[in-house]
Point group: C2
Chain length 473, copies 2
């Protein structure tokens, strides 16, 4: 029963002993039966196209609300989130970003010295520890990062410094709504830049905004960078990134002439549609209104937080100089939610191609009564082993639930695979077992179906993925 | 200044305009200058071998305490942590584990219905939201997961179900100490198994414990599985996994005869050394005492939590049956901390080879005054581009701080590279530029140094890494 660990070298065969059909589950390949994807049955789903986004994601087994604003992120959606994080990491590394982790529990004195303990008010979750010391659950980390960097910064050579984290944040929303979009616990990527002067800081600002644009482009999203208001954050330059979506909470104006955009909130003139504030004062009637979901925000902060936390360096004249800071956020869970919503329908989730949770699903049809189903499952396993190499190593999954045909028949399995939006479905019917075996390949991105000979399918898919930008875990 | 995003296709050159030497930083390669590794200077470090582990990790720029029990995890250590998480993910996927995310904020009623709201008492961080509803910050998630699974479970075919997460946990330790080992905010991997009966549940127990052993083996750690006490968790079978370490907080007894181990706490007999409880009652004097750090724990829970949350399925006789649960934890940050501690000295961090943050550091020597230093940096970049492919793509880093030679001379850079424990150091001196250019390759795992011809070094390293088990991000 219990043993010194070194005895267990190598792989152990881990087959459950108690239920024969479940033998399928554990052979080291990824299978639908071992994934937790609690989909609602067709009968539970509204067929209406007006079904809300939250319902789509809950019906597909991606999300589950625990309490208002608090969500379980279920396995398939979590995989997409980790891929999204990887895309962000790649782009941040490229601009010299260094990733770290800060505690969620932030001591009150830090926020008191910046003056934000009171200004954020009821939006913050506040609590006490057993020694009666006060904390908040971090909604953002300007104060923490300034404290950290201030401890170490001693030379201007350490700058430009671009520190970021991708982690949970907390905000006690008065009315949490719209699923992950306005949640009380959510994931955010927050970056902070430290530079020697304003010019350098604005240069960092540009570089980071450009990296944000690359992220949104890789996700294939229609995102607009708009002039924004700095609000309680401080500083005098600020931009938001908005995903254009019909049910966005913000109103965005885009000028046809200068191709620039602004948030309705920032408008000074009352007569919105009469002029573009950004076209050098020219009269312009061609301003379009859109609705947007804010998924990113950039702030040039100046020295507000570096003064509060004494983040300084010594210049040539032996003077202490406060460093200039910027703050940059991307709402990771909000982005995931909004990106899914704008492209999905109630019958089908459409993932941004680069962050699709799994790229290929192999669906052997048949049922336990059927003699050929065991052969089809074996064929599926052979195909899996050929496909799941290199870039696609962790990207293939087999729907092995043949033994469940009473509750999950072939039709249901196909419908579920369509709903989950795997880019490729490989469907194995009986003709796959014949000598001139053909297999049905469904490309869900462009909707095409074709019969391919079993010997050609692996090459076909690998060629496609050689060029395709995908994130793998 | 601000533009519609689709304009920015492709890569942008992102060179800071204001300081020429810093041009080195941004060429898409990973460099030490852009990483935030705030090392203490030699003069600040105690040369004594008795320097504490926490000090070692803080001196090396891996960790920084924010408040007692709350830590910043700095970039190099964070990378190791993510690799550790990847190792755990791989082994969990192999046994059919499905990863999800639960909220940190857990509503009080869940813990009240299991009866643990009061039993954990002051160890839990508790708080209220703006609507005066009570929550705790999750120290563990039996209640949450039961609630989630109970919503969906309707057939025994959904089991065995093995759900896990790797995330932050909170515990209001009365005396946080020993760095990440006993922190108030820490990362834990927690898995929960759901099975149809006790036999199946104990089978899951075995399978998951075996996976844990594989994880510890891959990390090369001397971990022992010991009989433990279930405590407040419930259930009647429980084991701990202990890393043998001189400064461990627990006392472990290992019997030379049966090779089994137990925690001192579980001993019934007063005379510890006289008998092994597990050798079928035989007298045995050969019991060795060790100190251990608890890094994992497995509990067979029975139906305690499934009863509280009504997690049932309907059997053949149309009866509701409570499912059997198990709970399995690995302290991720504690494991990282303990693994580093047992192998490191005050002059050198020794990482478990599979989770080394970066595998290769290229150190061009020289200084800005030196004409050859620019050439050495170029050579380093060429080597980088050849090495950083395939498995090693994100595993190479260049110490490009040649321009900082006043503050960080070649000697300091070599000392820092040694301290950080890169498995391979490639040191480029002037002789590397000569026609018969030789390069110094230092293998820090076995301590050997050799001069290798510049044309052979890439093959040499790639051959080593073909066989080596490493995690890449």
């Amino acid at each position: 029963m219990w043993t010194k660990c070194h005895r267990f070298n190598g792989l152990l065969t881990v087959l459950p002993r108690w239920d024969k059909p479940l033998l399928y589950r554990y052979y080291g390949r990824q299978t639908v039966s071992s994934l937790f994807i609690p989909m609602m049955r067709t009968s539970d789903q509204s067929a209406s196209a007006s079904v809300s986004r939250k319902t789509i994601l809950e019906n597909a087994g991606l999300l589950k609300q625990s309490r208002p604003g608090l969500y379980y992120i279920l396995p398939v959606a979590l995989r997409a989130m980790y891929k999204l994080i990887k895309v962000v990491d790649e782009e941040m590394t490229r601009i010299g970003g260094s990733k770290l982790g800060t505690p969620c529990l932030i001591p009150a004195d830090l926020w008191q010295s910046s003056g934000r303990w009171d200004t954020l008010g009821a939006e913050m979750f506040k609590l006490k520890d057993r020694h009666n010391r006060h904390y908040c659950l971090g909604p953002t980390h300007e104060e923490s990062i300034s404290e950290l960097v201030g401890t170490y910064l001693n030379s201007k050579n350490m700058m430009p410094l671009r520190l970021y984290q991708i982690d949970r944040k907390f905000r006690d929303e008065i009315r949490p709504r719209l699923g992950l979009r306005r949640a009380r616990e959510f994931w955010m990527k927050d970056m902070y830049s430290f530079d020697i002067d304003k010019e350098a800081s604005l240069n960092s600002y540009e570089i980071i905004c450009e990296a944000y644009v690359r992220i949104f482009n890789r996700l294939g999203l229609n995102v607009v960078k708009v002039v924004a208001d700095s609000g309680a954050m401080g500083g005098d330059t600020s931009h938001e990134f908005h995903l254009i979506a019909d049910d966005g909470e913000d109103e965005i104006l885009i000028c046809d002439q200068c191709h620039k955009a602004m948030n309705m909130e920032t408008l000074k003139s009352g007569d919105v549609m009469a002029e573009c504030n950004l076209c050098e004062g020219k009269q312009n009637k061609n301003i379009q209104k859109y609705r947007g979901v804010e998924i990113g925000h950039a702030f040039y902060l100046g020295t507000k937080y570096s003064k509060a936390a004494s983040v300084t360096y010594t210049d040539e004249n032996n003077c202490k100089v406060y460093v200039e800071m910027g703050s940059y956020g991307i709402g990771v869970t909000r982005l995931l939610d909004a990106a899914l919503e704008v492209q999905s329908t109630c019958n089908k989730i459409r993932w941004p191609s680069v962050i699709t949770p799994y790229n290929i699903c192999i669906v052997p049809l048949g049922s336990p009564k059927d003699n050929s189903s065991q052969q089809l499952l074996q064929l599926a396993q052979q195909l899996y082993d050929k496909l799941a190499v290199g870039k696609l190593q962790n990207e293939v999954v087999i729907d092995d639930r043949i033994y469940l045909s009473k509750t999950v028949g072939p039709g249901t399995r196909l419908r579920q695979a369509t709903l989950l939006g795997y880019p490729y479905l490989i469907i194995l019917g009986k003709q796959a077992l014949q000598k001139q075996g053909y297999i049905e390949l469904e490309d869900q991105l462009n909707g095409s179906k074709q019969n391919i000979h079993i010997d050609n399918i692996v090459d076909h898919i690998q060629q496609v993925y050689e060029k395709r930008d995908i994130c793998t875990l």
